[in-house]
């Protein structure tokens, strides 16, 4: 029983990370239907900024460094949309996705050039140590990152459901022409979406790095899981992204833990098998909207 709970907790924690990257992907995907392959590398770059601000050179408190990294991320993401993606505004999604592939490689190389090719350490904003209840234990860092990322996801949901700018973003994504006609500038909304996505990526990076390591390749596997989580959740749903991520994390942890031949080697395969099954039964994903409309 304790082992089951422990595995569930581990699954949820990695799942929340997958879900958050999925959320960063969905923020951009919803607006234009573009899959941003550079999502993970943008997050990695911002995490290095956090490292420079905090532990590295300036020596700011880690919480301040993370906030700084997120602000940098917002500007960085919005700027990438404005200056790199927008010139391809009229191109099809395949070509735009190729541009984000290029960004993936470019940002990765730039990070190696600017920061460090060596593996670095990043401090956690949460206290060291573990919280133990009845034989089950979880580090404060893991617990804190679960709570923080779930709160951020909830905050994003509120932003889109309740605020003027959130509604404008949703409207611009759903029907750009009508959005323009009510006075919304869809391009600005798109920049804003990229900014939010990159800021979220920065936060995910700051949650991942203390547990593993900080390096230019840190986000690459996570991006695959994030994409899987986004597809599972339905690509255009914020709730779906997070739920998809957690489902993926839990399936992975349980299958790896209880089915001997899967172990750690085949965990990724199990996750993808789960996705294929979901997509066969529900092609729009768990929370995706089916395109039904009365005309």
């Amino acid at each position: 029983m304790t082992l089951l709970v422990q595995r569930l907790i581990d699954g949820v924690q990695s799942g929340v990370l997958y879900g958050s990257i999925a959320l960063a992907l969905v923020l951009v995907y919803r607006a234009t239907g573009l899959l941003n392959f550079a999502t993970g590398e943008i997050a990695m770059f911002c995490t290095f900024i956090i490292w420079e601000l905090g532990g590295g050179h300036s020596g700011l408190p880690i919480v301040v460094a993370i906030i700084g990294g997120m602000i940098f991320g917002f500007v960085f993401g919005a700027g990438l949309e404005r200056f790199v993606i927008r010139p391809f505004e009229k191109a099809d999604h395949l070509r735009q996705s190729m541009v984000t592939m290029g960004l993936f490689l470019g940002i990765n190389a730039l990070a190696g050039f600017l920061f460090s090719l060596d593996v670095q350490r990043l401090d956690s904003p949460f206290p060291a140590g573990r919280w133990t209840v009845g034989g089950v234990s979880i580090s404060y860092h893991k617990l804190g990152s679960i709570v923080l990322l779930v709160l951020v996801a909830a905050g994003l949901r509120l932003l889109f459901a309740r605020t003027r700018i959130g509604l404008a973003m949703t409207g611009a994504a759903m029907n750009p022409t009508s959005a323009q006609l009510v006075g919304i500038n869809p391009s600005r909304m798109l920049s804003f979406g990229w900014g939010l996505s990159a800021a979220l990526g920065a936060l995910v990076g700051a949650m991942v790095a203390p547990d593993l390591f900080l390096s230019t390749n840190m986000m690459q596997t996570l991006l695959l899981y994030g994409m899987a989580a986004a597809v599972l959740g339905g690509m255009d749903s914020y709730v779906g992204a997070l739920v998809g991520g957690v489902a993926l994390g839990v399936i992975q942890a349980l299958a790896g833990g209880y089915i001997a031949f899967i172990g750690t080697q085949l965990q990724l395969a199990v996750a993808f098998a789960a996705i294929i099954i979901v997509l066969l039964v529900k092609p729009e994903g768990l929370f995706g909207k089916r395109q039904v409309e009365r005309v």
Binding site: R164, L167, N175, T177, A179, L181, G183, I184, R294
Partner: protein, 233 residues
């Protein structure tokens, strides 16, 4: 209120409008008639900036010929596009909130009551997704959404399209009521010449992107050519 001179527009190499002259005075309802493909929708799209055009468009004293659609909306030019353009996955209320996007303050953006009084059916459907509404209801929603932004002028693209005759009649009544109550100027593109000319002051007839006839609404209603072409008698 609105004046277009030498307006030419098209899609890529295909030119649709040529040297169009058209104006709408303050508080006036003007109708644009024409067969399919005459350039009616293109006229509205050029006026609201959805497509690029040559020539001059002046609105409320400003030259808006090069302004983007969202900038034109800010100046008070509302456009209800062909096919209604509702945000189909959003609720009726959210559609209206988006219509009030440019209003300052939360209260303004939540001030639905005037429009719910005018279109009571929208109040009943307030939580429903816009895409699940009937055609007539969606058209009312499109009108109400445009009105949320308190426009000085509305461009309406075939509001009667796909609606039952009874629904169309009631919609035109409401359009007229809005014009009288709020003094909103209107430019209505229509196939239904009879109903639209009855609420309008003037009308233009478009053929292959050119104005071929222009006059007072009652004169157009009596014109034999118009009667044959658009009124079926």
């Amino acid at each position: 209120m609105l004046e277009a001179t030498g307006l030419s527009a098209g899609y890529g190499p295909i030119s649709v409008l040529e040297d169009l002259e058209l104006h709408v005075d303050e508080g006036e309802i003007v109708v644009v008639l024409g067969a399919n493909g005459a350039g009616k929708t293109t006229t509205l799209r050029a006026l609201s900036g959805l497509i690029n055009s040559k020539g001059t468009v002046r609105f409320a004293g400003a030259d808006i010929s090069r302004a983007k659609p969202d900038a034109r909306a800010k100046l008070g030019l509302g456009h209800i596009p062909e096919g209604r353009g509702t945000f189909s996955f959003l609720s009726v209320e959210d559609n209206l909130r988006l219509g009030g996007h440019l209003l300052k303050g939360r209260q303004g953006r939540h001030a639905f009551d005037t429009w719910f009084e005018l279109f009571p059916i929208l109040a009943e459907r307030r939580k429903q997704a816009a895409g699940s509404l009937s055609g007539g209801e969606q058209q009312m929603l499109a009108v109400a959404r445009a009105l949320m932004g308190r426009p000085k002028m509305l461009l309406l693209d075939e509001p009667s399209m796909g609606l039952a005759p009874m629904v169309t009649a009631s919609l035109f009544q409401k359009i007229e009521a809005v014009n009288q109550q709020f003094g909103t100027s209107m430019l209505i593109v229509e196939q239904n010449a009879n109903l639209s000319l009855k609420i309008a002051a003037r009308g233009y007839v478009l053929e292959s992107g050119r104005v071929v006839l222009h006059g007072k609404a009652e004169e157009l209603l009596d014109d034999d050519g118009i009667r044959r072409a658009y009124l079926g008698s």
